[in-house]
Point group: C2
Chain length 191, copies 2
């Protein structure tokens, strides 16, 4: 951030009175600009013993598989956002049933909120951001081609919970480990 | 938003290619500026049969009581943020135990994430944003002087769950009803 979005003047990094962190503060109008983490909302859309996966038609992770998810918009709830993303990416209508997971991704300043959902009918097709959309049983999940660690973790949680017959809300942190590869650490709260 | 925070030129509201909502787009550099809801993180700090409440020394709702909570910062997790807010507002150290509630407040573009927490010791004092900090049993909660509906709802959930001996993650929406008074509707997911 270099300029004030309210008056167009330059901003400086300084700690405002009563604050304890440096913020972007306008040199002319004094407006304080906060930069906050973003919420990503999505769901596990279920149909009988299958879940709906989308193959990404956009970067990052073009061509890999994911659960429907995307940035929460203004004026909507996380519940509405998760259903909207499923409609946009998979042209599928879902009923959002329960909160399922909240994962922190502090290295990219995102908070993922995932719900359990049920497809109203086995009707779906790729939206503009998807190359393909498929219903997969557990043994059909393309584990080696999952786009994001938070999606892989949510799917592993889901099938583990389904085997034991009880769904439990999960929360924790997923951090990228230092180094050049794509290595991540998953730490669940309370473990 | 009137000016581009990257180059200082004016922004226009337009629907970018591949998008379906109007965004603030820079007239010179083309940067798209998204405005997203913010995450508020907090906790129910427990000590035996009491919970820790703070009396607000800042607007909005100056002088009313609340649970420790505030905006999630960059580079931190919701778990870290909830503990930090408790330290800042109540000078109290807590261990965050479990996710407890996720409430959507779409009328003010906030998502509240509340945790169950335990005080390390009954040691606390007002931080700069608090007039007073107190441990309250259920019959000592100042129900008529609670600052925010989401805090009242979380406290009611908490004491209800404690009576039945089982804590259950809650999620739902809290919306301000049209009109001049402070009337709110609480709708839990699945009810």
């Amino acid at each position: 951030m270099k300029y004030c979005s309210q008056c167009g003047s330059t901003v400086d990094l300084q700690v405002p009175a009563g604050d304890n962190m440096p913020r972007h503060v306008c040199s002319r109008c004094g407006e304080i600009h906060y930069i906050n983490p973003k919420v990503v909302v999505g769901c596990v859309p279920q149909w009988r013993d299958q879940v709906l996966l989308c193959r990404r038609a956009i970067e990052p992770r073009y061509g890999l598989w994911t659960l429907p998810a995307g940035f929460l918009e203004r004026d909507e709830t996380t519940i509405e956002g998760a259903a909207r993303e499923t409609l946009e990416e998979a042209c599928a209508r879902v009923a959002i049933k329960d909160l399922y997971a909240l994962y922190n991704l502090p290295h990219i300043n995102q908070v993922y909120v995932m719900f359990l959902a049920e497809l109203a009918a086995p009707e779906f097709s790729p939206g503009p951001e998807s190359l393909d959309v498929r219903l997969c049983r557990e043994d059909e999940i393309p584990w080696e081609q999952i786009a994001f660690p938070v999606v892989e973790q949510t799917l592993r949680d889901y099938f583990e919970d389904r085997r034991r017959g009880r769904f439990q809300v999960r929360t924790g942190d997923i951090r990228r480990l230092p180094g050049q590869g794509r290595a991540f650490e998953v730490r669940l709260l309370g473990q």
